[in-house]
Symmetry: C2
């Protein structure tokens, strides 16, 4: 690392200001909900941590994990609504996304997915064939992820609402005894692994919307992450610190949430983050940073330096994870922040986005 | 019972035709989803049993219980989306409904409610104060029902969709060892209990919409049914056959679903079904049968004749259940059907509704 990568005095002052702001719990000061509140960035954070969690007053919710943990029966619970537009896109559809997204929140919480519930809000006038195709997609994805749909609900709302269909899936998983995962377990010196190339899902959705005059064969990466989580638990066991799936807001948002929750800094080497050439090219043309683009089948994992090589090898042996990589390490300072080490040896803050890069990608 | 209450030859032929039709699994033949598919009547049944359950191919889902049962860890899982209009109404709001509705599906499955997840779909432009009030309602209802919200999710959709907000709650409960409930356990001779007056919720919603020039002080009955379920489990224990909450489609739909699932007939004495005078008056003016109007805090229970008096007394001792009543009994024939014994000693079929009496009441 060259000397130029150390922050200058001015940069250090800026970092301290950001760090101080970050230590305060976010407040929710908006009068109305905007699309940005659903985008996974800073506005979402202020809604969740400034309004929803305080009003609901639940200590387990305040842990802000991917799933709620019930230590007594040893279960993890997680819930997600899917409002993706369009319903079908290269590599997947809302049905697969709804299964895999919920399965993955369990997997990165160190819980073996056991069962799902499926709650549908259907728009009056929805084609029965579209609905049938999505139920087949749900069944296929559930079969691949080895989870059973055990309960369901259906509501119908008037034409013009619900954009064909919204799907809410909730998953219950059994906590795997091999792991003891928590953002609080992350330590300076830990290595950061990612399970494959990033930004595929979000770019696939952008292409599928046809809003850009760009043709690229980009497919969503939607898949169950339990095999990847299982491999990491088997390889690193109790040394595995924490996992998270990098969905809404992309890799940058997942790392920022964890840096804040664990009170450490993260240093990511930009050149080591796998991005497929067609995704990188499309992102560059559109002026979008792939670090902030959603994934639906990628996790980040934190392991001690001593376990990193074995964990990475275990991860790469999982089907679909051959591009897994070590992308950086955990440091002490600046606490709560993510820094990106660029190709030129410089560093910049990789912060949460304030706005809404891409609504309704999941 | 007078001789006139026995079906005539013509009535018997009609009953046999209905019975034969009912024995076939419903097929889904519509090309598009209509509001009726969400109303809890025959159209909903054809969607669920003719499309959703077959395509999802899950044996547990095919049991069509209020909750999915996971025998291994001894858990019940249930999920519901709430799309009620308006959000607030006399006696409650969408937040309370979302907690109590899901708690009640667990309670009638014989499972002590343990934890909930909360997934929100918010409309762009939603007032933060409206959202805050609903989160307070959720927290209050969860406190009263003694369940914790352990995980959540938030999505935002464009203005004009989601009618302010939709709420999806999923509940996990621990199967209570005192009971072994199943529609299949219902036997001819069993008595049918209801935990209080019917049709309050649906009529409160109708009044709150202000579509009728009618003024009546009718409040929703939204509440947790766990205390009622607990009292019945304590009183009747393993003799308690089955419970169900009479929500969408009202008492008539709940009884029809159970009659079909258990292959027995049910005979309900109209005069013994508790309906509050203001609800009965409003229903009469509007030409609506209270039997088909939704409840959000009422259950039906099936107990052997020998346990019925004690179970009813136990139920009446529960706060909010003082109007509980024995409303009828189970018979062998006509299998799968519900008959109503009217005040004049006649009988008529109380079938599932084909159409949509009242959309979006929960």
């Amino acid at each position: 690392m060259s000397a130029s990568s150390e922050p200058t005095g001015r940069e250090q002052r800026i970092l301290r200001i950001i760090e101080t702001a970050r230590a305060k719990p976010p407040r929710f000061k908006d009068e109305r909900i905007t699309m940005a509140h659903g985008a996974g960035g800073r506005a979402s954070q202020s809604l969740i941590e400034g309004l929803l969690v305080p009003e609901l007053g639940s200590p387990r919710l305040a842990e802000l994990g991917d799933a709620g943990i019930l230590p007594e029966p040893g279960l993890a619970l997680t819930s997600d609504s899917f409002v993706v537009r369009p319903l079908r896109f290269p590599g997947g559809s809302i049905g697969e996304l709804a299964v895999n997204g919920t399965v993955n929140d369990l997997a990165v919480s160190g819980a073996r997915p056991l069962a799902l519930t499926l709650s549908l809000v259907l728009e009056e006038g929805l084609s029965a064939e579209v609905l049938r195709a999505e139920m087949q997609a749900v069944a296929r994805a559930a079969g691949q992820a080895d989870v059973e749909i055990v309960a369901g609900d259906t509501k119908v709302v008037e034409r013009g609402q619900a954009d064909q269909m919204y799907v809410c899936t909730t998953g219950v998983g059994v906590l795997d005894p091999r792991g003891a995962l928590s953002p609080a377990a992350i330590r300076p010196g830990d290595r950061i692994l990612v399970s494959g190339s990033i930004a595929d899902h979000g770019m696939a959705i952008m292409m599928a919307r046809g809003e850009f005059e760009l043709e690229a064969e980009i497919e969503s990466d939607t898949r169950s992450l339990w095999p990847a989580a299982d491999a990491l638990l088997e390889s690193a066991g109790a040394a595995l610190r924490c996992m998270r799936d990098a969905t809404r807001g992309g890799l940058a948002s997942a790392l920022n949430e964890l840096a804040r929750a664990s009170g450490v800094a993260m240093l990511v080497r930009e050149a080591d983050v796998p991005v497929r050439p067609d995704v990188a090219a499309a992102a560059e043309i559109l002026g979008i940073d792939p670090m902030y683009v959603a994934n639906e089948g990628k996790l980040v994992a934190f392991v001690p330096e001593a376990e990193a090589a074995a964990a990475l090898a275990a991860l790469r042996a999982v089907p679909g994870c051959s591009e897994a990589a070590e992308i950086g390490r955990v440091e002490e300072q600046p606490a709560g922040m993510v820094l990106l080490e660029t190709g030129f040896g410089g560093r910049r803050v990789m912060d949460l986005l304030a706005g809404d890069p891409l609504p309704r990608i999941c």
